[in-house]
Amino acid sequence: MTAALDRAATELLPAGPRLVAHDAAVFALREKRDAAGSAEPDFERLREYARAAKAHTLDHLDLYLERFEARATAAGAIVHWAEDAPALNRIVHALLAERGARQVVKSKSMLTEECGLNPYLESRGIEVVDTDLGERIVQLGHEPPSHIIMPAIHRTREDIGALFARELDVPAGETDPARLTEAARRHLRGHFLGADAAITGANFAVAETGTLVVVTNEGNADLGMSLPKLHIACLGLEKLVPGLADLAVFLRLLARSATGQPISVYTSLVTGPRPDSELHIVLVDNGRTRLLADEHHKRALGCIRCGACLNTCPVYRRAGGHAYGFAIPGPIGAVLAPALGRTAEQRRLPLASTLCGSCTAVCPVKIDLHEQLIAWRATDVPRGARERWLARLAARVLASPALYQLAGRAARVVWPVLSRRWPGNPAAAWLAARALPEHPGASFRARWRARRREGVQ
C-alpha cells in the first residue's frame, strides 16, 4: 500500500547530506518569504485582493480571453488556441518549421514542461536551449525541473561543477558558483546570438491591454525576446488578469512569495511584436476548462506559480520534486494532478500530504490547497477494491460501540505480535522506522468505569 511517491523519494533523494541540503535550501525560501511579507504592511490585504481578482477573472474568463485576444491582435500579435498538449506542440512546431527555424532559445515555462514541448521539437530536429540557469542545468543533466521556480534546487554545486566539466568549458573540480555561472553565461551567449526564434512562457496576460508579462531574475527571457525575429509565447488560459491595476497587486505578491524579493530583477511587459518581428501567443487549455467547470476545484486555477506552497510543504522538502512524477510537484501539483494528470499514480497525488495546512496559509492568492486535497480524495483518487473493503469494514466496526470495544480488546491481545517481524505483518512498513508504542494497558473507557466504581469525584 506504500505509495509510489514514498518509494521514489527514497531512491531519488536518499537520506543523508543531500536530503538535509534540499530541505534547508527550500525552507530558506520559505523564511525569505516570511521576512519579505512581514516587511510589506499590506501583505494580507494584497492576498485578499489577489484572491478576489482571480475569482472574478475565472468567473468571467470567456470575456477576458476574448478581450485579451482582441487587444493583443490589435497590437500586432497573432493569437493561437491550443486545446491540449499535442495541439500546442503542433502549433509551435509548425510556426518554427514554416520559417525554417532550427535553433530556439527558450526561457522557463512550466506549461511547456507540462506539455512536453522540448522533446517534441527535439525529435523533429529543432535544437531547444533553455536559457534560465537552473533550467539549463536540468536540461544538460537530461532531467525535468524539480521545483517550479528553482528547477535545479535538488542539485548541489558539486553536481553542477561535475556536469559543467562534462558539458561546458569548465575545469574539473570547479565548484565556485560565480565561476560556474560565468561559464553558463558564456555558453548561453552564443546560443542567444545564433537563435532563430525565442519561446517564452508568461506570468500574466493583461486583458485590458493585450500585454504579456514575463518575470525573471536573469533577464534571459528579455534577451531571448529581443534578438530573434520570432517570439512564441505559450501560456495557460488561467494566466489572465483583467487590467494593469490588478497586475500591480500580483507583482507585489509574486516575488515576495517566491523568493522573498520585493520584486523580480526583470519584469517585462510585451505588447505586440517589435518592428520587423513576429509575436505569436498560444493560449493553452490542456484540462483547464475541465477544472474551470468544477465549482469547487476551479480556485486552483488562480495559482500564479510562485512555489511558496512547495517551499513550506514538509513532504515536498523531504521528497524532492522528481518523486512526484508530475511536471508540477508539491501541494499545487497534487491539487492539479487529478485534473491535468494522465496516470493513475498522478491522480493519487492528493494523498501525498499530511494536511498540515501550511500550503493554504502561504498561498498568495489564498487557494484552499489542503481542503482541495481532501475534496479530491473523496471524489477522484482511485481507490482499490481492498482499500474500499477495508474502509467499509472499519466503519462498520466503529459505528458499533460493542464491535469497537471487541476490536480494541483483540488489538491488545495481538499487540506483542505486531512488533515482531513476520511476513504479511500489516504494521511492517510503519515499523521500519518506528518502534511500536508501548502496550497501553486497559482502554480509557475501562479505566473510566473503574474510576467511577471507586467513587472518584
Partner: protein
Amino acid sequence: MPEREAGGVKVALFIPCYVDQLAPEVGLATATVLERLGCTVSFDPRQTCCGQPFISTGARAEAVRLARAHAANFAHAEAVVCPSASCVATVRRRYAELLGAEPAAELAARTFELAEFIVSRLGTCDVGAHFPHRVALLESCHGLRELGLGQPTEQLGGDPSLLGVTERLLRGVAGLELRPIARRDECCGFGGAFSVGFPELSARIGRDRLRALAESGAEYATGTDASCLVHLDALRRREGFGPRAIHLAEILARRAPG
C-alpha cells in the same frame, strides 16, 4: 489557584478512539483537570470515532455514517471537550460538508479543544499544575491552522507577541521551563493515514522534528494531540534520542507533591 466547587459547566468528554485505545491516561488527565476547575464531567460510552480517518482517505460514505453517530451521541451535551485538536478540527471544519451547514455549526459551537476550553471558556490560564521540567511545545498543525489555537509562523501581519492558548497554559504551570524549538510549527509528519501510505517520508519529517526537540534541551515534548505525540515517541524509541512525549492534559493534571 483555588479549587473550584463542582457543579459548574457540564462537560461531555469527547475521547477520540485512538486516545481511548492507545493513550488512555490522556483521557483520565483531561477529566482530572476539568473536575479540578469545577466542571461536572461525563463520558458517554456510545462514542467511538469522529470519522477523521475516513475523511482523510476519501471514504466519504463511511465518514458521513460516523459523523452522524458522533453528532447524535453529543446532541444534548452542553459543552463537548476533547483532548485532541485534530478531532475537534474534524467536527468544526469538516462536518459541514458531511452533515450540512446548520447541524454542523450547532455542534461545532459546543465543541472545544481542551486548551481553548480552559482559557477561552473557563477564562483561566492557571489550573494549579506543577511540573518542574524543561518542556518543548510540539505545535499541532490542526490546532494551529484549523482551530486558531495560536498564530502559525506563515501568518504575517499579526501581533507575534500574542501567545496561543496552549503556550499560555504552559506558562501558567509552576516550575515548568518552556524551551523554544527551531521551526516551531513544522508538521511532525504523522498525518494519520499519511504515515501508513508514506511511511518513509513521514519518518523523515518526524525525525527532523525529533532532532529539533532534542536540540532544545527539553526533557519532555508536549502538545494538544496525542496522535502527533504517539508518532514522535515511536520514532524516539527507535532512534534512541529526544525528549519523552507527554500530552498537555497530563502536564496540567500534575500537582505539587504534598
